[in-house]
């Protein structure tokens, strides 16, 4: 079944993408995953340009590729609905409101070193709240990502290196070859376990490895 929007011309579609993402980033505070319910409401429920499954796939994808989740979402949804021009329209729509708002604030207070004690208190309060939020997000990520003591040790080593002022960029780059070695070692161990297990029996470790990909 075709809705009104699906019959729209190409230009109107791009305009719709631009305006939708403009609205999303202009209204949603926090960005990233906080945008998801609004995206669902606009693109899945209202315009029926995406299915719920497509949105779910996209959410997983936007968190695996590098980049800010908000822009990733805009690019992938734009891509799906309007190809490359759609991706551009959605991305620029998402960028325009925060860019304008922050530009105004930054030109008014370029140094952000207030002397007023109440304003200082407001900043301190928000900073404390953000600390709690990042801590909760970090712990959730830890539980989703880290599956065994070895991985826990690796995270700890990376953390210590970051504390010792090793550049974060270097750490991420070093993590890539490490990941290759690790996955290679894991698959080899799995293959060995399969060989030693008597035929017809499935080794238990398959479930452990399957979980890491999600």
């Amino acid at each position: 079944m075709e809705t009104e929007v699906q019959k729209l011309s190409r230009a109107r579609r791009l305009l719709l993408l631009y305006c939708s993402f403009f609205r999303i980033t202009a209204l949603v505070v926090g960005g990233g995953l906080a945008m998801l319910p609004v995206i669902e409401e606009i693109f899945v429920v209202k315009h029926k340009l995406l299915t719920r499954e497509e949105l779910l796939d996209m959410t997983a994808l936007t968190q695996t590729v590098p980049g800010i989740i908000a822009i990733n979402s805009a690019v992938y949804i734009g891509m799906k609905i309007g190809g490359v021009p759609g991706a551009l329209a959605a991305a620029f729509g998402a960028v325009t409101p925060p860019f304008t708002v922050i530009l105004i604030i930054a030109s008014l207070f370029p140094h952000l070193d207030p002397k007023n004690r109440y304003l200082l208190g407001v900043f301190a309060g928000i900073r404390a709240a953000v600390t709690g939020m990042i801590l909760v997000t970090g712990c959730r990520m830890f539980r989703r990502t880290v599956k065994n003591p070895l991985e826990c040790t690796v995270v700890f080593i990376f953390f210590i290196l970051a504390v010792m002022k090793v550049s974060p960029a270097l750490l991420i780059l070093a993590a890539v070859p490490f990941g290759w070695c690790y996955v290679w070692w894991q698959t080899r161990r799995l293959a060995q376990a399969e060989q030693t297990a008597s035929p017809g029996e499935k080794p238990d470790e398959t479930s452990e490895d399957g979980g890491t990909a999600k």
Binding site: T25, V28, V29, G30, G31, G32, D57, L61, Q63, V65, P66, G67, I68, I69, A70, I71, V75, M79, A91, A94, P97, P98, F99, V101, L103, I105, S107, P110, G121, V122, F123, A124, G125, I126, R127, A128, A129, T131, G132, I134, G138, M141, F142, V155, F158, F159, V163, M164, K165, P168, L171, I172, A175, V176, P177, G179, Y182, V183, T212, A213
Partner: protein, 202 residues
């Protein structure tokens, strides 16, 4: 102009390295602009993040625009924001279809596994940076804490203390996030009000 090009390239780098969402930008940005180039102090960076957090829009983009402005004015903002989105668009347009087809290969799986572990560690590091700006009155003195490994009592620098408002607000926010479904906007506004109230007493 050269400065803006530099900013653009720097933010391209951050965008490509930013696995795991906008919070990953915090360790990257502090390493570059607070520790190395020193265009911002730690407390300015903290205030900047507070503003980025309460104004609408993704935190990463807000921070980029602000850092760009502090560095080189309007064109700096433009360069930083573009730097953040251009790699994403390039990756998105070329790899969007590809990654699904390649996701079970050893190369993609290994890269994702490795970068995710590093991302978790770096976000935890971002938490410690924030601890130094909210729960404690100064950055955490890691050198002094190193004494713990030698089984000695660490000598804390003067002025390093626990900030009461910080720890109260931070603790409350953690409980609220775990136990309730309050929107983050409400939590942030409440914390801002609580911070102003605490300023009356402290």
């Amino acid at each position: 102009m050269n400065h803006c090009l530099m900013l653009f390239l720097q933010f391209c780098k951050f965008s490509v390295l930013c696995f795991g969402g906008g919070y990953m930008l915090i360790p990257l940005l502090t390493a570059e602009f607070v520790d190395r180039e020193q265009v911002l102090t730690m407390s300015e960076f903290g205030n900047l993040l507070s503003v980025a957090q309460v104004t609408p829009g993704p935190v990463g983009l807000n921070t980029a625009t602000y850092v760009g402005y502090v560095n080189a004015g309007f064109f700096g903002s433009l360069a930083a924001s573009l730097g953040l989105i251009v790699p994403t668009i390039l990756i998105g347009c070329s790899a969007a279809a590809g990654i699904n087809r390649w996701k079970d290969t050893f190369l993609v799986k290994g890269m994702l596994k490795g970068t995710r572990l590093a991302a978790v560690a770096l976000i935890m590091f971002a938490v410690t940076i924030f601890f130094g700006m909210s729960v404690f009155t100064q950055t955490i003195p890691w050198e002094a804490l190193g004494a713990l490994f030698k089984l000695e009592r660490p000598v804390l620098p003067d002025g390093f203390a626990v900030s009461v408002p910080g720890i109260v607000i931070c603790g409350t926010v953690i409980v609220l996030m775990l136990k309730t479904k309050l929107p983050t906007t409400a939590i942030l506004l409440g914390s801002a009000a609580a911070g102003a109230l605490f300023a009356i007493w402290f």
